[in-house]
Amino acid sequence: MVKMTDLPTKGGFSFDLCTRNQMLLDKGVQMPPFRKTGTTIVGLVFQDGVVLGADTRATEGPIVADKNCEKIHFMAPNIYCCGAGTAADTEAVTDMVSSQLQLHRYATGRESRVVTALTLLKSHLFSYQGHVSAALVLGGVDVTGPHLQTVYPHGSTDTLPFATMGSGSLAAMSVFESKYREGLTREEGIELVAEAICAGIFNDLGSGSNVDVCVITKGQTEYLRNYQLPNPRTYISSKGYSFVKGQTVFLEQLLLLVSKLVHVEAIFQLRVDEWQYRINWGLVPCLC
């Protein structure tokens, strides 16, 4: 009989392995480092809407795990969310709220509002008391106008005209504090966001690689993936490493043919006896 724990669960977290993991911790085993997004994420409000920006480096301890990851997550066609903190948490929480918003859109028949996303995010994060480590910059344009909010891992939120989060937030905030003004145009807004992210990329060790930008206005969203690439790989040798065939010594080799080539002809004109002849002699291609 299949035990209840074996069937796919209905959703939510499962705490089955906590006792075992606590036992390991007590024996002196260290917990592994989770993949974090060291990160610089920013957002600002300009005259027609909201511009969001993020760097693209994902770290695992001191090592760069992903040189070009996506930190600007889709929530709704008119709402995007940048995420910093533990990568699994930001991805899971933004995916979950994005699905909830879609269901809400189906139920209400209206475009999603930024405050809806905000409330769903903050109530989830607060109920886990900060253990779901996701720091988010939520921006979007809905019927009530452009909105930009920050959400902290413990569930508090701020509504701001310009915001930065992540390990590179101080570097980016210095750029915003000196250059931000109300009523920026679209080009000025994008340029300022790119400059702030670059400040994070070059001055903060947890942020790096490229600049992603997302511009949200009433009725239109533009996701500019890899808007700037200020860190190209210039050190690759053009020759590369080439290994001759047979350089690697192997002890055993197993070659498998996975699928037969299926060559099916439509044979409509055959008489019944000829068909039988073909089956007997194995000339009918088998479907596999």
Binding site: S14, F34, F243, K245, T248, E252, Q253, L254, V258
Partner: protein, 209 residues
Amino acid sequence: MSIFEYNGSALVAMVGKNCFAIASDRRLGVQLQTVATDFQRVFKIHDRLYIGLSGLATDAQTMYQKLVFRHKLYQLREERDMKPQTFASLVSALLYEKRFGPFFCQPVIAGLGDNDEPFICTMDCLGAKELAKDFVVSGTASESLYGACESMYKPDMEPEELFETISQALLSSVDRDCLSGWGGYVLLVYAALLTPTEVQEKILKGRMD
């Protein structure tokens, strides 16, 4: 001592032209003692999808059993095999479900998707996906593997060249890691138009120390 260093492992997957390769070491240890030299870390899900699991060996085996179970249920319901992208989401969800008491394993997924497009992906032990277009690494030798793959990888390699590159990257990296090595295992899957999908498994000769 970290829980990932209890058994020791090295895993790498690379993408080539209409082919992918996934390679692992073969050592199973209990801290510094070697217990087995033929340990399987790369598992088959279906003909065109393979998963390698590094980290704590018991969690890797449990994770594999759960995944095979879920895939078989999927096959019964959908009457077809899972696509690699879908499978990656399944693995991510299973790992994130245990967010506050995780499985100590890091999967490397490699498969052929629609139009024989190779797909590789890795995750940390909580399920944060990293979809790469070139190579992914995992295990105690991951730092050396990052360096070796970064310099040896070239885009659009043919299957023979891909096999050589991934083998050399694996062998040179595990030589710099005490906890992994003792031979290598490489699985190469190659699909092209009008030829059957080829699967090659090779056991590599490496340093046995």
